[in-house]
Symmetry: C2
Subunit: 225 residues, 2 copies
Protein backbone atom coordinates (compact mmCIF):
# COMPACT_ATOMS: atom_id res chain seq x y z
CA UNK A 1 0.00 0.00 0.00
CA UNK A 2 1.40 3.32 -1.04
CA UNK A 3 0.74 6.76 0.31
CA UNK A 4 -1.61 8.80 -1.85
CA UNK A 5 0.21 10.77 -4.52
CA UNK A 6 -2.61 13.33 -4.67
CA UNK A 7 -1.84 16.39 -6.72
CA UNK A 8 1.23 14.80 -8.28
CA UNK A 9 3.02 18.14 -8.12
CA UNK A 10 3.35 21.07 -5.81
CA UNK A 11 1.81 20.18 -2.50
CA UNK A 12 -0.04 17.64 -0.42
CA UNK A 13 2.29 14.87 -1.39
CA UNK A 14 4.86 14.60 1.34
CA UNK A 15 3.77 14.65 4.90
CA UNK A 16 0.04 14.02 5.10
CA UNK A 17 0.10 16.05 8.29
CA UNK A 18 -2.40 18.58 9.58
CA UNK A 19 0.43 20.58 11.11
CA UNK A 20 0.56 24.01 9.53
CA UNK A 21 4.32 23.94 9.46
CA UNK A 22 4.24 20.72 7.46
CA UNK A 23 1.79 22.21 4.99
CA UNK A 24 3.91 25.32 4.64
CA UNK A 25 6.95 23.20 3.90
CA UNK A 26 5.03 21.34 1.23
CA UNK A 27 4.25 24.63 -0.48
CA UNK A 28 7.50 26.54 -0.08
CA UNK A 29 9.91 23.85 1.06
CA UNK A 30 11.00 22.74 -2.38
CA UNK A 31 14.35 23.95 -3.46
CA UNK A 32 14.28 27.57 -4.66
CA UNK A 33 10.59 28.03 -3.92
CA UNK A 34 11.01 30.33 -0.96
CA UNK A 35 13.65 32.37 -2.73
CA UNK A 36 11.21 32.99 -5.56
CA UNK A 37 8.70 34.30 -3.05
CA UNK A 38 11.41 36.48 -1.56
CA UNK A 39 12.25 37.99 -4.94
CA UNK A 40 8.61 38.81 -5.57
CA UNK A 41 7.95 40.26 -2.14
CA UNK A 42 8.37 43.89 -3.21
CA UNK A 43 6.49 43.66 -6.48
CA UNK A 44 5.90 41.64 -9.64
CA UNK A 45 8.83 40.47 -11.76
CA UNK A 46 9.42 38.84 -15.10
CA UNK A 47 10.97 35.43 -15.65
CA UNK A 48 14.39 36.78 -16.46
CA UNK A 49 14.39 39.20 -13.53
CA UNK A 50 13.73 36.25 -11.25
CA UNK A 51 16.62 34.34 -12.72
CA UNK A 52 18.90 37.30 -12.18
CA UNK A 53 18.07 37.35 -8.48
CA UNK A 54 18.82 33.67 -8.06
CA UNK A 55 22.13 32.74 -9.63
CA UNK A 56 22.22 29.01 -10.07
CA UNK A 57 18.58 28.30 -10.79
CA UNK A 58 17.90 26.77 -14.18
CA UNK A 59 15.09 27.71 -16.51
CA UNK A 60 13.53 24.32 -16.04
CA UNK A 61 13.44 24.48 -12.29
CA UNK A 62 12.20 28.04 -12.28
CA UNK A 63 9.40 27.08 -14.65
CA UNK A 64 8.46 24.11 -12.47
CA UNK A 65 8.51 26.12 -9.27
CA UNK A 66 6.45 28.93 -10.74
CA UNK A 67 3.86 26.42 -11.87
CA UNK A 68 3.82 24.78 -8.45
CA UNK A 69 3.53 28.05 -6.59
CA UNK A 70 0.77 29.18 -8.91
CA UNK A 71 -1.12 25.93 -8.33
CA UNK A 72 -0.71 26.37 -4.59
CA UNK A 73 -2.14 29.88 -4.74
CA UNK A 74 1.04 31.68 -3.75
CA UNK A 75 1.38 33.65 -6.95
CA UNK A 76 -0.40 34.42 -10.20
CA UNK A 77 0.87 35.07 -13.67
CA UNK A 78 -0.34 38.32 -15.12
CA UNK A 79 -0.08 39.59 -18.67
CA UNK A 80 1.38 43.02 -19.05
CA UNK A 81 -0.61 45.76 -20.77
CA UNK A 82 -0.08 45.74 -24.57
CA UNK A 83 2.76 48.30 -24.88
CA UNK A 84 5.03 46.02 -22.86
CA UNK A 85 5.17 42.48 -24.14
CA UNK A 86 5.31 39.42 -21.94
CA UNK A 87 4.04 38.66 -18.50
CA UNK A 88 5.00 39.01 -14.88
CA UNK A 89 4.65 36.87 -11.76
CA UNK A 90 3.00 38.46 -8.79
CA UNK A 91 2.26 37.24 -5.30
CA UNK A 92 -1.33 36.74 -4.22
CA UNK A 93 -2.57 38.19 -0.94
CA UNK A 94 -1.65 34.91 0.71
CA UNK A 95 1.74 34.98 -0.93
CA UNK A 96 2.45 38.42 0.46
CA UNK A 97 1.35 37.15 3.86
CA UNK A 98 4.39 34.88 3.89
CA UNK A 99 6.61 37.86 4.56
CA UNK A 100 6.50 37.49 8.32
CA UNK A 101 7.53 33.86 8.11
CA UNK A 102 10.33 34.68 5.68
CA UNK A 103 11.63 37.41 7.95
CA UNK A 104 11.58 35.17 10.99
CA UNK A 105 13.54 32.54 9.13
CA UNK A 106 16.06 35.13 8.11
CA UNK A 107 16.34 36.47 11.63
CA UNK A 108 16.87 32.95 12.93
CA UNK A 109 19.54 32.21 10.34
CA UNK A 110 21.39 35.42 11.17
CA UNK A 111 21.82 34.17 14.74
CA UNK A 112 24.03 31.31 13.57
CA UNK A 113 27.79 31.65 13.46
CA UNK A 114 27.71 29.42 10.41
CA UNK A 115 25.79 32.02 8.45
CA UNK A 116 28.13 33.65 5.97
CA UNK A 117 27.00 37.20 5.16
CA UNK A 118 29.78 37.70 2.63
CA UNK A 119 28.20 35.50 -0.03
CA UNK A 120 26.39 37.06 -2.98
CA UNK A 121 23.17 38.85 -2.20
CA UNK A 122 20.31 39.91 -4.43
CA UNK A 123 18.84 43.38 -4.19
CA UNK A 124 15.56 41.91 -2.97
CA UNK A 125 17.40 40.02 -0.22
CA UNK A 126 19.01 43.22 0.92
CA UNK A 127 15.68 44.99 1.10
CA UNK A 128 14.17 42.06 2.94
CA UNK A 129 16.98 42.23 5.46
CA UNK A 130 16.22 45.88 6.05
CA UNK A 131 12.60 45.02 6.78
CA UNK A 132 13.71 42.23 9.10
CA UNK A 133 16.40 44.07 10.98
CA UNK A 134 14.77 47.49 11.24
CA UNK A 135 14.42 48.41 14.89
CA UNK A 136 12.12 51.37 15.63
CA UNK A 137 13.91 51.88 18.94
CA UNK A 138 17.16 52.52 17.07
CA UNK A 139 15.42 54.69 14.51
CA UNK A 140 14.62 57.14 17.29
CA UNK A 141 11.66 58.79 15.66
CA UNK A 142 13.14 58.97 12.17
CA UNK A 143 10.64 59.64 9.41
CA UNK A 144 12.06 59.52 5.94
CA UNK A 145 11.54 58.71 2.30
CA UNK A 146 14.57 56.89 0.92
CA UNK A 147 15.55 55.44 -2.42
CA UNK A 148 17.84 52.53 -3.18
CA UNK A 149 19.10 51.75 -6.64
CA UNK A 150 20.99 48.50 -6.41
CA UNK A 151 22.28 46.57 -9.40
CA UNK A 152 19.86 48.54 -11.52
CA UNK A 153 16.82 47.72 -9.40
CA UNK A 154 15.06 50.64 -7.76
CA UNK A 155 13.34 50.48 -4.40
CA UNK A 156 11.58 53.07 -2.32
CA UNK A 157 11.67 52.87 1.48
CA UNK A 158 9.26 54.77 3.67
CA UNK A 159 10.39 55.06 7.27
CA UNK A 160 7.78 55.88 9.88
CA UNK A 161 8.22 56.03 13.64
CA UNK A 162 7.40 52.37 14.05
CA UNK A 163 7.33 50.87 10.61
CA UNK A 164 9.35 50.48 7.45
CA UNK A 165 7.72 49.92 4.09
CA UNK A 166 9.60 49.03 0.94
CA UNK A 167 8.38 48.56 -2.60
CA UNK A 168 9.76 48.39 -6.11
CA UNK A 169 9.24 51.95 -7.27
CA UNK A 170 11.50 54.50 -8.95
CA UNK A 171 13.55 56.43 -6.40
CA UNK A 172 13.12 59.88 -7.92
CA UNK A 173 12.25 62.54 -5.41
CA UNK A 174 13.39 60.66 -2.31
CA UNK A 175 15.19 62.60 0.41
CA UNK A 176 18.23 60.45 -0.11
CA UNK A 177 19.07 57.91 -2.77
CA UNK A 178 21.77 55.32 -2.42
CA UNK A 179 23.22 54.01 -5.66
CA UNK A 180 25.26 50.80 -5.61
CA UNK A 181 26.29 48.37 -8.36
CA UNK A 182 25.69 45.35 -6.15
CA UNK A 183 23.90 44.48 -2.92
CA UNK A 184 26.89 43.09 -0.97
CA UNK A 185 28.54 46.50 -1.03
CA UNK A 186 25.55 48.01 0.68
CA UNK A 187 25.49 45.16 3.18
CA UNK A 188 29.17 45.76 3.95
CA UNK A 189 28.33 49.32 4.89
CA UNK A 190 25.09 48.69 6.75
CA UNK A 191 25.97 45.50 8.60
CA UNK A 192 29.75 45.37 8.33
CA UNK A 193 30.33 48.98 9.35
CA UNK A 194 32.47 49.72 6.31
CA UNK A 195 32.41 53.51 5.87
CA UNK A 196 30.84 54.79 2.68
CA UNK A 197 34.09 56.61 1.95
CA UNK A 198 35.78 53.25 1.39
CA UNK A 199 33.19 52.13 -1.11
CA UNK A 200 34.02 54.06 -4.22
CA UNK A 201 31.30 52.43 -6.25
CA UNK A 202 28.57 53.49 -3.84
CA UNK A 203 27.14 56.96 -4.16
CA UNK A 204 24.68 58.87 -2.04
CA UNK A 205 22.45 61.42 -3.63
CA UNK A 206 20.61 63.90 -1.42
CA UNK A 207 20.53 64.05 2.36
CA UNK A 208 23.31 61.79 3.61
CA UNK A 209 22.41 62.45 7.23
CA UNK A 210 18.97 60.93 6.87
CA UNK A 211 20.46 57.90 5.20
CA UNK A 212 22.98 57.53 8.01
CA UNK A 213 20.19 57.59 10.59
CA UNK A 214 18.42 54.87 8.68
CA UNK A 215 21.57 52.77 8.54
CA UNK A 216 21.95 53.14 12.29
CA UNK A 217 18.44 51.78 12.81
CA UNK A 218 19.14 48.49 11.05
CA UNK A 219 21.11 45.95 13.04
CA UNK A 220 21.81 42.21 12.97
CA UNK A 221 20.76 40.11 15.97
CA UNK A 222 23.38 38.67 18.36
CA UNK A 223 24.81 35.24 17.55
CA UNK A 224 23.55 32.43 19.73
CA UNK A 225 24.57 29.43 17.68
Amino acid sequence: MKLPKETKSGHGKWYGDACGTAFAMEVIGERWALLIVRELMFGALRFSDLRAGMPGISAKVLTERLAGLEAAGVLIRRKLAPPAAGQVYELTAWGYAAETAIMEMGRWAAMSCAHDPTLPLSPASLMMSFRTMFDPALADGLEADLGFVVAGQAFRATVRTDSLKIRRTPAEGAQAILHAPAAPLVAAHVYGDVPLAELAAVRVEGDATVLARFVASVKLPPKIG
Copy 2:
Protein backbone atom coordinates in the same frame (compact mmCIF):
# COMPACT_ATOMS: atom_id res chain seq x y z
CA MET B 1 32.02 23.97 -14.16
CA LYS B 2 29.98 22.82 -11.22
CA LEU B 3 28.82 24.69 -8.19
CA PRO B 4 30.92 24.03 -5.09
CA LYS B 5 29.76 21.02 -3.15
CA GLU B 6 31.28 22.32 0.06
CA THR B 7 30.22 20.44 3.16
CA LYS B 8 28.83 17.53 1.18
CA SER B 9 25.93 17.20 3.60
CA GLY B 10 23.65 19.37 5.61
CA HIS B 11 24.13 22.94 4.56
CA GLY B 12 25.98 25.40 2.43
CA LYS B 13 25.53 23.37 -0.70
CA TRP B 14 22.50 24.76 -2.47
CA TYR B 15 22.14 28.46 -2.84
CA GLY B 16 25.46 30.12 -2.09
CA ASP B 17 23.44 33.13 -1.03
CA ALA B 18 24.04 35.49 1.86
CA CYS B 19 20.29 35.84 2.33
CA GLY B 20 19.32 34.55 5.74
CA THR B 21 16.22 32.93 4.36
CA ALA B 22 18.33 30.96 1.93
CA PHE B 23 20.65 29.83 4.70
CA ALA B 24 17.70 28.82 6.85
CA MET B 25 16.30 26.75 4.01
CA GLU B 26 19.62 25.00 3.61
CA VAL B 27 19.51 23.99 7.26
CA ILE B 28 15.85 23.13 7.75
CA GLY B 29 14.52 22.99 4.21
CA GLU B 30 15.31 19.35 3.57
CA ARG B 31 12.40 17.02 3.69
CA TRP B 32 11.36 16.23 7.27
CA ALA B 33 14.01 18.44 8.84
CA LEU B 34 11.66 21.11 10.12
CA LEU B 35 9.23 18.54 11.45
CA ILE B 36 12.03 17.01 13.50
CA VAL B 37 12.69 20.41 15.02
CA ARG B 38 8.99 20.77 15.70
CA GLU B 39 8.85 17.46 17.54
CA LEU B 40 11.79 18.45 19.72
CA MET B 41 10.53 21.92 20.50
CA PHE B 42 9.06 21.01 23.89
CA GLY B 43 11.89 18.80 25.07
CA ALA B 44 14.32 16.05 24.17
CA LEU B 45 13.08 12.83 22.55
CA ARG B 46 14.45 9.44 21.61
CA PHE B 47 14.76 8.08 18.07
CA SER B 48 11.61 6.01 18.26
CA ASP B 49 9.59 8.84 19.79
CA LEU B 50 10.57 10.99 16.85
CA ARG B 51 9.46 8.34 14.40
CA ALA B 52 6.13 8.08 16.17
CA GLY B 53 5.50 11.79 15.69
CA MET B 54 6.22 11.65 11.98
CA PRO B 55 4.36 8.81 10.32
CA GLY B 56 5.98 8.14 6.98
CA ILE B 57 9.60 8.95 7.79
CA SER B 58 11.95 6.03 7.39
CA ALA B 59 14.73 5.14 9.79
CA LYS B 60 17.27 5.96 7.13
CA VAL B 61 16.03 9.44 6.46
CA LEU B 62 15.58 10.18 10.15
CA THR B 63 19.15 9.10 10.80
CA GLU B 64 20.41 11.28 7.96
CA ARG B 65 18.44 14.31 9.05
CA LEU B 66 19.49 14.01 12.66
CA ALA B 67 23.12 13.89 11.57
CA GLY B 68 22.63 16.92 9.32
CA LEU B 69 20.85 18.93 11.97
CA GLU B 70 23.53 18.04 14.50
CA ALA B 71 26.26 19.13 12.09
CA ALA B 72 24.41 22.40 11.50
CA GLY B 73 24.21 23.06 15.24
CA VAL B 74 20.44 22.77 15.52
CA LEU B 75 20.46 19.83 17.91
CA ILE B 76 22.77 17.69 19.97
CA ARG B 77 22.66 14.05 20.90
CA ARG B 78 22.85 13.45 24.61
CA LYS B 79 23.35 10.20 26.52
CA LEU B 80 20.81 9.51 29.18
CA ALA B 81 21.90 9.03 32.78
CA PRO B 82 22.79 5.37 33.51
CA PRO B 83 19.46 4.13 34.90
CA ALA B 84 17.81 4.82 31.53
CA ALA B 85 19.65 3.33 28.59
CA GLY B 86 20.04 5.01 25.25
CA GLN B 87 20.23 8.60 24.16
CA VAL B 88 18.02 11.50 23.27
CA TYR B 89 18.09 14.33 20.77
CA GLU B 90 17.78 17.81 22.11
CA LEU B 91 17.66 21.22 20.48
CA THR B 92 20.49 23.66 21.06
CA ALA B 93 19.77 27.24 22.09
CA TRP B 94 19.79 28.16 18.43
CA GLY B 95 17.49 25.26 17.65
CA TYR B 96 14.97 26.45 20.21
CA ALA B 97 15.22 29.91 18.68
CA ALA B 98 13.61 28.53 15.54
CA GLU B 99 10.27 28.40 17.29
CA THR B 100 9.17 31.86 16.15
CA ALA B 101 9.89 31.00 12.54
CA ILE B 102 8.06 27.69 12.84
CA MET B 103 5.05 29.38 14.35
CA GLU B 104 4.94 32.02 11.65
CA MET B 105 5.05 29.35 8.98
CA GLY B 106 2.22 27.54 10.68
CA ARG B 107 0.18 30.71 10.99
CA TRP B 108 0.74 31.43 7.32
CA ALA B 109 -0.28 27.92 6.28
CA ALA B 110 -3.42 28.11 8.37
CA MET B 111 -4.55 31.09 6.28
CA SER B 112 -4.80 28.94 3.16
CA CYS B 113 -8.05 27.30 2.17
CA ALA B 114 -5.99 24.42 0.85
CA HIS B 115 -4.77 23.61 4.32
CA ASP B 116 -6.52 20.49 5.53
CA PRO B 117 -6.75 20.44 9.32
CA THR B 118 -8.39 17.01 9.37
CA LEU B 119 -5.20 15.13 8.53
CA PRO B 120 -3.30 13.29 11.26
CA LEU B 121 -1.61 15.45 13.85
CA SER B 122 1.14 14.69 16.32
CA PRO B 123 0.85 15.75 19.95
CA ALA B 124 3.77 18.13 19.50
CA SER B 125 2.03 19.73 16.51
CA LEU B 126 -1.04 20.29 18.59
CA MET B 127 0.95 21.97 21.33
CA MET B 128 2.77 24.08 18.80
CA SER B 129 -0.55 25.20 17.38
CA PHE B 130 -1.62 26.28 20.86
CA ARG B 131 1.49 28.39 21.19
CA THR B 132 0.90 29.85 17.74
CA MET B 133 -2.80 30.57 18.04
CA PHE B 134 -2.93 31.69 21.66
CA ASP B 135 -4.32 35.21 21.81
CA PRO B 136 -3.88 37.02 25.14
CA ALA B 137 -6.77 39.31 24.23
CA LEU B 138 -9.10 36.30 24.06
CA ALA B 139 -7.62 34.83 27.24
CA ASP B 140 -8.96 37.84 29.11
CA GLY B 141 -6.57 37.69 32.01
CA LEU B 142 -6.64 33.94 32.44
CA GLU B 143 -3.84 32.50 34.55
CA ALA B 144 -3.75 28.75 34.73
CA ASP B 145 -1.69 25.61 34.98
CA LEU B 146 -2.99 23.00 32.58
CA GLY B 147 -2.01 19.47 31.66
CA PHE B 148 -2.46 17.65 28.38
CA VAL B 149 -1.96 13.93 28.00
CA VAL B 150 -2.30 13.16 24.32
CA ALA B 151 -1.48 9.80 22.79
CA GLY B 152 0.47 8.98 25.93
CA GLN B 153 2.60 12.11 25.78
CA ALA B 154 2.28 14.53 28.68
CA PHE B 155 2.59 18.30 28.37
CA ARG B 156 2.26 21.06 30.88
CA ALA B 157 0.91 24.46 29.82
CA THR B 158 1.36 27.57 31.92
CA VAL B 159 -0.99 30.38 30.98
CA ARG B 160 -0.08 33.90 32.05
CA THR B 161 -1.84 37.12 31.18
CA ASP B 162 0.22 37.62 28.08
CA SER B 163 2.13 34.43 27.52
CA LEU B 164 1.72 30.69 27.14
CA LYS B 165 4.52 28.30 27.97
CA ILE B 166 4.43 24.59 27.19
CA ARG B 167 6.91 21.87 27.97
CA ARG B 168 7.07 18.09 28.13
CA THR B 169 6.44 17.47 31.81
CA PRO B 170 4.08 15.16 33.69
CA ALA B 171 0.68 16.74 34.16
CA GLU B 172 0.15 15.77 37.78
CA GLY B 173 -1.11 18.58 39.94
CA ALA B 174 -2.40 20.81 37.15
CA GLN B 175 -5.70 22.63 37.66
CA ALA B 176 -7.16 20.76 34.74
CA ILE B 177 -5.85 17.85 32.73
CA LEU B 178 -7.18 16.89 29.34
CA HIS B 179 -6.69 13.25 28.37
CA ALA B 180 -7.08 12.25 24.74
CA PRO B 181 -5.97 9.18 22.79
CA ALA B 182 -5.00 11.25 19.76
CA ALA B 183 -4.31 14.86 18.88
CA PRO B 184 -6.92 15.28 16.12
CA LEU B 185 -9.68 14.75 18.65
CA VAL B 186 -8.41 17.67 20.69
CA ALA B 187 -8.08 19.77 17.56
CA ALA B 188 -11.67 18.97 16.63
CA HIS B 189 -12.79 20.39 19.94
CA VAL B 190 -10.47 23.40 20.10
CA TYR B 191 -10.54 24.50 16.47
CA GLY B 192 -13.55 22.65 15.09
CA ASP B 193 -15.90 23.57 17.93
CA VAL B 194 -16.94 19.98 18.52
CA PRO B 195 -18.29 19.85 22.09
CA LEU B 196 -16.35 17.69 24.51
CA ALA B 197 -19.57 15.80 25.19
CA GLU B 198 -19.41 14.37 21.67
CA LEU B 199 -15.88 13.11 22.14
CA ALA B 200 -16.28 10.05 24.30
CA ALA B 201 -12.59 9.24 24.24
CA VAL B 202 -11.61 12.65 25.60
CA ARG B 203 -11.73 13.18 29.34
CA VAL B 204 -11.21 16.26 31.47
CA GLU B 205 -9.83 15.88 34.94
CA GLY B 206 -10.11 18.81 37.32
CA ASP B 207 -11.44 22.29 36.64
CA ALA B 208 -13.28 22.11 33.32
CA THR B 209 -14.09 25.82 33.43
CA VAL B 210 -10.45 26.82 33.35
CA LEU B 211 -9.86 24.50 30.45
CA ALA B 212 -12.82 25.98 28.60
CA ARG B 213 -11.43 29.48 29.07
CA PHE B 214 -8.12 28.31 27.63
CA VAL B 215 -9.86 26.74 24.65
CA ALA B 216 -11.65 30.02 24.02
CA SER B 217 -8.33 31.84 23.89
CA VAL B 218 -6.93 29.76 21.06
CA LYS B 219 -8.23 30.59 17.60
CA LEU B 220 -7.25 30.00 13.99
CA PRO B 221 -6.57 33.02 11.75
CA PRO B 222 -9.03 34.00 8.99
CA LYS B 223 -8.49 32.48 5.56
CA ILE B 224 -7.05 34.80 2.96
CA GLY B 225 -5.95 32.31 0.33
